[in-house]
Amino acid sequence: MRCLILCLILFISQFIACQSPATPSWRVTTPPGFVAIPSQNLRTANAVYKAVAADGAVIVMRIQRQQPEGDLAFWAAALENELRFQRNYELIDQDDVMTQDGPARVLYFRTGYDDEAFRYTLAVFVAQDTVVTIEAAAPLTHYDHHSLAITDTIRSLSR
């Protein structure tokens, strides 16, 4: 009986370990004006990093295992499709940014949330088996103030 329970615990722990998408090796630098939220307090799905500014701007890094495998262009287009055509986000620009670990595709959106206009930036980086994304959002009126910090955060992505 004890052996069975031990095996069950071992199996569950292995299962959880396999399912967990978080790969703690990915890092970004918290930009000036932001504070990083402790990892145990992160409630955003698949988030491994979150930083907020006093005026409500937020930066989040998420990691998702690739299922199936796709390249940077595929995942960037898929996320653009999701946001533009499923959520009505307005794509206002896109750009390629070089991170510490390689190229990332950055999509710049505009949308409405809680009766307010927001800017939403999504950077997509693809490694061998993971899709790393860095999202940033801020009210339209505050975004320009943080745009440089957001770009610096994306550039700072490294393992």
Binding site: V60, R62, A78, E82, Q86, I92, Y113, F118, Y120, A137
Partner: protein
């Protein structure tokens, strides 16, 4: 007897010479003064007549003669005569064109870039730009062509073409400018003839005032000329996907983790 006749003839000759010689200059002065006053009835010559009255009165008081009056009042006549042919000749209308368009497109940012690029190709330029609106100036000759091109960028939701006829203002400014320039030249000539400091200062003050007015008129003319030569086109672009609900027609991809992306998930 013959002596008596000779004396009478001499008296008659002297008296006739004396009457004629004294009357002529005064008549001449009155005639020219009257002409100057008549010129004041013509609206464009208002300032001219006022300035002449002021200036010549001073000059007459100072010099005690009317030679200058006859000489200076003469140019008032051509300005009246010049105005007549302009009034009878058919006028070519001078019109400022503006257009305001709102266009829905799938790619507003790209459409804005294209609108600007096309304006520049037609020798136009960017006037102002915001997130969703671009204002360009295009040569008036290409105004219609530019609008035709812009209409192909998406679905035209609204279009407004405005015209402002500035012919009257333009001609009025031209006449005022010509008159002011003539008057300034006359003041400059008078300044050379000023016989005392008080006159010179008064003339210089008028010269400064006329110069300022000339610059003001020239500025307004340049503004009008610019806006006549280059039409203003303001275009607002909106996202047609949002408006037409095209997003609902796109197939959702089978990656459920993507549903977590977006602003809402960052703030929840």
């Amino acid at each position: 007897m013959s002596l008596c006749i000779r004396v009478l003839c001499f008296i008659a000759l002297v008296s006739s010479l004396g009457c004629g010689g004294g009357a002529y200059p005064r008549q001449e002065g009155l005639v020219h003064w009257g002409e100057t006053r008549t010129a004041a009835a013509s609206p464009p010559a208002d300032k001219l007549s006022e300035a002449n009255t002021y200036d010549f009165t001073d000059r007459n008081l100072a010099s005690g003669g009317e030679g200058g009056l006859a000489k200076e009042a003469a140019p008032a006549q051509p300005s009246e005569h010049q105005a007549r042919p302009e009034a009878t000749t058919p006028l070519q209308r001078i019109v400022i064109y503006r257009a305001n368009l709102r266009i829905a497109t799938l790619h507003p940012a790209q459409a804005m870039e294209n609108a600007l690029a096309f304006a520049e190709r037609l020798d136009g330029w960017l006037d102002s730009m915001t997130d969703h609106q671009v204002v360009v100036r295009v040569p008036a000759a290409h105004f219609r062509r530019y609008l035709q091109e812009i209409r192909t960028y998406g679905q035209v939701e609204s279009e407004q073409i405005l015209s402002q006829d500035v012919t009257e203002e333009f001609l009025d400014l031209e006449i005022r400018l010509r008159t002011a320039l003539e008057l300034r030249d006359r003041y400059a000539a008078l300044l050379d003839k000023a016989q005392n400091v008080q006159d010179a200062l008064a003339i210089e003050a008028e010269l400064a005032r006329m110069t300022s007015e000339i610059e003001h008129i020239k500025g307004r003319l340049a503004f009008l000329t610019n806006h006549v030569a280059f039409s203003t086109v303001s275009i607002s672009f909106t996202n047609i996907a949002t408006q037409l609900g095209l997003n609902q027609k796109r197939l959702a991809l089978p990656f459920h983790w993507m549903r977590d992306y977006g602003v809402a998930s960052l703030y929840n």
